[in-house]
């Protein structure tokens, strides 16, 4: 080993940081790719939350929308595959007609469920937390019910989208190679997620729609006075947000794997909620928080497969793997408690809007 490096590693306490840095740098190509893969569904869930809450509607039913998206995408894809017989996938991303049909169905199902939430929250003006709970229980019940019935017939399924594979000359580039590999050696949903984050960030803070959305979420009455239709905008945004969460679900059953398991969203909708809060209700911030949470998971996986040597290895070896599972939630509580910076939701978040009489 380089004498300089071993010198740095030898420094008490601080040396551990250098050791961790060295370990991460060694594994960067793999860690980066895993981190993005884990972060994608969390990011999409968080974007669903950002879109809803920026517009003034609290949505804790993201988990249910994701689960529905995962199930519908998979089952409709499988049905289409059975009807259409063997198909040859496109050379890029392994795209087939059944997969596309499944994906569209997943998005529509997510929007339908979001429409239910929008109707309950905006028109009937019920408690939005209860409405979100209903979404979650309903999705768990319906997908579980149908999955139990269908699993006994076990359809072969439509397969899954495949990841891009950059040539090794690109991924071996110094400095940026690992980043390109992390960002682009991914499937179509993962790559579009990164694009969606950027587009949504720009739209939310640089477009007319974004200004209106934020106005409606902060002060609906003022927005209405200048001629913005609060009810319509809330409906549109909440329904659109359903497509985002459902895309996250479809990622689980159509890109990361090629099948559906009961309850496969496994709390990602709630981690998404956490990422939204830690990211302070902005798309980029939510993406950053999702990356942070996911890198914990990726690091935990890497350590359990090949722990680092020396002092650091001894220390990390003692750390239970559950530590990394709990990390996102602990970080969120710390942020909420106001210990590290304050995270404040839009002012009208969760408050139903009632128009005043027009005469």
């Amino acid at each position: 080993m380089d004498p300089l490096i071993s010198g740095l590693y030898g420094i008490p306490v601080l040396g551990l940081v250098f050791q961790l840095l060295g370990y991460v740098l060694d594994l960067l190509p793999i860690l980066g790719q895993t981190t993005i893969a884990v972060a994608v569904p969390i990011t999409l869930a968080a974007l669903c939350g950002v879109l809803c809450e920026r517009t003034g509607v609290v949505n804790i039913g993201i988990e249910g929308i994701m689960l529905t998206g995962a199930f519908v995408g998979w089952i409709v894809g499988a049905a289409a595959a059975e009807l259409m017989g063997p198909v040859t996938p496109l050379p890029i991303f392994g795209i087939t007609m059944p997969l596309l049909i499944g994906l569209v169905a997943a998005l529509l199902a997510g929007m339908l469920l979001a429409l239910l939430h929008a109707w309950l929250a905006i028109s009937v003006r019920v408690d939005q937390i209860i409405s979100g709970v209903i979404l979650n229980i309903l999705a768990l019940g319906v997908t579980g019910y149908l999955n139990t019935l269908i699993a006994s017939q076990s359809p072969p399924g439509a397969g899954s989208f495949t990841a891009l594979s950059l040539p090794s000359t690109v991924t071996n580039l110094p400095l940026v190679g690992w980043l390109l590999r992390a960002l682009f050696n991914q499937g179509p949903i993962a790559i579009s997620t990164i694009v969606i984050v950027i587009i949504l960030q720009v739209l939310l803070f640089r477009s007319r729609w974004g200004l209106r959305t934020r106005a409606v979420g902060e002060h609906p009455k003022a927005a209405e006075t200048v001629g913005i239709n609060v009810i319509h905008l809330r409906y549109r945004n909440v329904i659109a947000s359903g497509a985002l969460a459902a895309l996250g679900g479809a990622y689980l059953s159509m890109e990361q794997t090629n099948s559906f398991q009961a309850g496969m969203s496994a709390g990602r909708g709630f981690i998404g909620l956490a990422a939204m809060i830690v990211g302070r209700w902005t798309p980029i911030g939510a993406f950053g928080a999702a990356i942070l949470f996911a890198s914990g998971t990726a690091l935990g996986q890497a350590i359990s497969i090949g722990p680092p040597n020396g002092q650091l290895g001894d220390l990390l070896g003692k750390l239970p793997s559950q530590f990394f599972d709990a990390l996102p939630y602990v970080v969120t509580i710390i942020v909420l408690a106001g210990v590290v910076g304050r995270s404040i939701p839009p002012a009208a978040d969760g408050k139903p809007y009632e128009r005043e009489a027009t005469t």
């Binding site: 229980i137 017939q153 239970p320 408690a337």
Partner: protein, 377 residues
């Protein structure tokens, strides 16, 4: 309320139960439609119009049709009743406790830990101690959310959701690590031995049933006949007015969350000491979320929570037989649960039905719940 003479007692009862009863009936009808539509997948041939009847028949005979079924209904209702009372108390103070799940799990783990440590001690010592630890652990876990709400205004819905997942990680870490039974192939704690709850009726009708039943009048007394209960309800109705009247909403919030968590922890304690008697790392339950439905269906009133818990206990008890006899998946219970909740919250529309005009709203509204974190008391 009109200025006319007070309505007769049966009429007042009907006004109170009309919306829940109609919601249950409509949900069961909707469930029948679901069973019918997907009967095509069960029989794999054609739609079967008799399947809903078969399924509900099996559901009823599995839960109410035999002595064992009735006992099972009570056993299943026990944790729902305790945790449901906890969520209901929270609602009364304007707090939405979504964290019954985590409080249940850690309370259960605390009870099992004490039970396993005192496995050969006298049950007279180990059982009360184990249950007390379950209450304390649940109360402390919920107390974190209560403390954060009281001091920094962090919304209890978000913090309790986060605490649920942290509880899962803590549980799996402790059971796979320090509390693991040595030489077991799967991560699981040691058995509780002598600390198992005594069986009082049937095959597994443990004494926890009586504990849960006793909690109903106790909670009613606490809420409606004590100063603390009055403060809880006052803070729930209007925290600012309560503060102006000299109460301290912050400590009431902390106390209420601890009370709710204690009840959910106790639910975990009696379930584990009475039924599985050891804690596997992958222990799963939906009691925490079912408790929300039970509390809402029972209108956050202890006497209302009792029949609501029995209803869901019966559905859980009969769902297995329904799946075996009629081939209808037990997940149907979740669908019915969601639809009941749906009809309960759209009571505004429900009460336009003829005969339901006089009915009271189906939910205790929790306006304080949806207030943004920054503004909360």
């Amino acid at each position: 309320m009109s200025a006319a003479a007070p309505a007769s007692f049966p009429r007042r009862v009907w006004e109170l139960v009309a919306v829940p009863v109609v919601a249950i009936i409509l949900a069961l009808l909707a469930g029948a439609v679901v069973i019918f539509i997907f009967s095509v997948l069960v029989s794999r041939a054609a739609f079967d119009p008799t399947l809903p009847l078969k399924a509900y028949g099996a559901l009823i005979s599995g839960s109410l049709g035999s002595f064992d079924g009735l006992v099972e209904t009570c056993v299943q209702a026990t944790p729902l009743l305790l945790a449901g009372l906890g969520v209901a108390v929270g609602f009364r103070a304007g707090l939405f406790n979504i964290g019954a799940q985590g409080q249940f799990l850690l309370g259960a783990l605390g009870a099992v830990w004490v039970g396993a440590s005192l496995a050969s001690a006298s049950p007279l010592l180990s059982i009360p101690l184990a249950l007390a630890v379950a209450v304390v652990v649940g109360a402390l876990w919920a107390g974190i959310a209560g403390y954060l709400k009281a001091t920094s205004g962090a919304h209890e819905v978000v913090t309790t959701i986060m605490l649920n997942y942290i509880a899962l990680a803590v549980l799996s870490w402790l059971v796979a690590g320090p509390l693991r039974l040595t030489n077991s192939p799967q991560p699981v704690t040691a058995g509780i031995g002598q600390a198992a709850l005594p069986i009082i009726i049937g095959r597994d009708g443990h004494i926890g049933i009586l504990i849960a039943l006793a909690a109903v009048p106790l909670m009613w007394f606490l809420l409606y006949r004590t100063t603390i209960g009055f403060e809880i309800r006052a803070v729930g109705a209007n925290a600012d007015a309560a503060r102006y009247a000299g109460m301290r909403p912050r400590s009431t919030i902390l106390l209420t969350m601890a009370l709710a968590g204690g009840l959910a922890g106790l639910a975990g304690g009696v379930t584990l000491l009475g039924l599985s008697q050891q804690m596997p790392a992958g222990y799963t339950t939906t009691v925490g979320f079912d408790a929300i439905t039970v509390a809402l269906l029972g209108r956050s009133n202890p006497w209302g929570v009792l029949p609501a818990a029995l209803l869901f206990g019966a559905m859980r008890a009969g769902a297995g037989l329904m799946q075996i006899q009629a081939g209808v998946p037990a997940d149907l219970v979740y669908i019915i649960q969601a639809i009941i909740l749906l009809f309960l919250i759209i009571d505004v529309l429900l009460r336009k039905l003829p005969g339901l005009r006089a009915a009271k709203a189906g939910l205790v509204t929790t306006d304080a719940v949806t207030a943004p974190a920054g503004e909360a008391a």
